[in-house]
Amino acid sequence: MKRLTARLLLTPAMTTLFVWMIIPLAMTIYFSFLRYNLLEPGAHPFAGFENYHYFFTDDAFIPAVQNTLILLFSVMCITVVVGIALALLINEPFPGRAIVRVLLISPFFVMPAVNALMWKNMMMNPIYGLFAQISHFFGFGAIDWLSEYPLFSIILMIAWQWLPFACLIFMTALQSMDREQLEAARMDGANYLQQLRYLYIPHLGRSIAVVIMIEMIFLLSVFAEIFTTTGGGPGFETTNVAFLIFRQALASFDVGVASAGGLFAVLLANIAAIFFIRLIGKNLDK
């Protein structure tokens, strides 16, 4: 293929993504230096670093960064560990395996908004929710999950949605394991833990990398689940960076501060990107 043709083919995607990134970004930078509140129409005077100051000294800022990271790492750990366990469990053929697969993968297709509402109303509601009814049945008091363990509840919902994804990727990877090697190891008397440590986990290396990478992309900007359940609260306990910016932009109509926050989000995304390239890059290269 000629160099020029290759360039031409690459151009539409490059241009589109570049425009998609650079124009909003430029506007965000511009807005971030203005005193720009939708509730006060008219002039938008230059504000210097005032918006940044507001955003970084907001009481919710530190919790939001913490929550974003806690959410990211917890969901990753849960989905990878439980996902591997489930995949190992389902790896051997058994009656109805196809149906089990179908049931397992279903949560991945559930819309985040529906996911959140379903858990909030039908599972975690302190009076009518099934969790409350179950704990009542066993003689314990009902727990108001979303106000007593808010971040944990959000993590649970999101992990439920991403577990099928992780599990299925691990399952697919396990299907390609070298059976003979496994049998040989068993003959040599390797116990299950040893098999796990020396055969299964190394074999799953690349798929673990894939799972972490994709989840990182989506988990950094979790929004719908928080918006529809806790609204970031109680206090700032479930406010993540995405939700904090949303609050600034749409709840207080402060475009300036929200833009400063948006730039911080871009920065955070890039730090995460560098981090994941370091972590995963080796694994993904053949």
């Binding site: 965000t28 149906i99 697969r101 397992l104 559930v110 577990l163 390609s176």
Partner: protein, 293 residues
């Protein structure tokens, strides 16, 4: 005959099930029961949502929860009557199919170019593309809103289609790139030697061999667009709202309408779940970026 014995011997190594002891069989039964139990447990919330959709409002909030009841279709009728489900469903279909096609049109040539004519920069470009996907949408909501207002794209199907395409594009390029890379270069080179033009090369070599990749990329993109809620909530309203916006209109905190909410939710997720069931194999292969072979 010799052939048969050989296959037999091989089969014996490959499938040691023949020599399994009773203990192994018991363990297998235990494992499969556990697998079934866990699968049902994970699926349960969806099942419960489906069940609630057929209850009356009173049955929906009954304590203790009702497993058996006489089902009603009232909720579905009411969802359609109250908020024109079909319009939202149509919007979802149009925007997700539209953004998938548009995305493939832009992503496929780029992935093709990077896979078959790589430069030192190709890897960096890929990573850069992916990093745009990590940016939380709220970070650029205000500028996009302002631009959409200016160009009259607010609350239009076109507007949503474009934004869905843009947000899926990095993943599409990356997936297609990994698929195209799997195509043996020798085949391409042979075609080139025979003097095939780039379009013929694409049409007769890359397209047939990469069809699986194109299909799973399209599937994932469909699912992601269908489930996208942030942009459809903020940029689409009365005319272009997708099913995600429909759900939001039922989630108002005042007054619980569980069975109606469930009916609306079920109507919103059922098409894509059923679709996902049929395409799961393709989808899983695609999601792994060819990383697990």
């Amino acid at each position: 005959m010799a052939m048969q014995t050989m296959t037999k011997a091989k089969a014996h190594i490959a499938a040691p099930a023949v020599t399994h002891t009773n203990a192994y069989k018991v363990a297998l039964v235990g494992r499969s029961m556990l697998a079934w139990l866990l699968a049902l447990l994970l699926f349960f919330p969806i099942f419960w949502l489906g069940l609630t959709a057929f209850k009356t409002e009173l049955q929906a909030i009954a304590v203790p929860a009702k497993l058996f009841f006489s089902p009603t279709l009232e909720n579905f009728a009411e969802v359609q009557a109250r908020s024109n489900y079909l319009l939202y469903a149509m919007n979802s279909i149009i925007t997700s199919v539209g953004s998938t096609l548009l995305g493939l049109l832009i992503a496929a040539p780029a992935a093709y170019s990077m896979a078959f004519s790589p430069t030192k920069r190709s890897k960096d470009i890929l990573v850069w593309m992916l990093s745009t996907k990590m940016l939380p949408a709220v970070g650029v909501l205000v500028p996009i809103y302002v631009l959409y207002q200016k160009f009259g794209l607010l609350d239009t199907r076109w507007g949503l289609t474009i934004i869905f395409t843009l947000s899926n594009l990095p993943i599409m390029v990356w997936m297609l790139y990994s698929y195209f890379k799997e195509i043996p270069r020798e085949i391409l080179e042979a075609a080139r030697m025979d003097g095939a033009s780039i379009f013929k090369e694409f049409r007769y070599v890359v397209l047939p061999l990469g069809l699986g990749g194109l299909a799973s990329t399209a599937l994932l993109c469909l699912v992601l667009s269908w489930n996208e809620s942030f942009w459809s909530l903020n940029l689409g309203a009365a005319n272009a709202g997708t099913l995600a916006s429909l759900i939001a209109s039922y989630s108002s905190p005042e007054g619980l309408f569980w069975s109606k909410l469930s009916a609306a939710s079920l109507m919103a997720i059922a098409p894509i779940i059923v679709f996902g069931w049929f395409c799961q194999k393709q989808l899983v292969q695609g999601l792994t970026f060819g990383a697990v072979k």
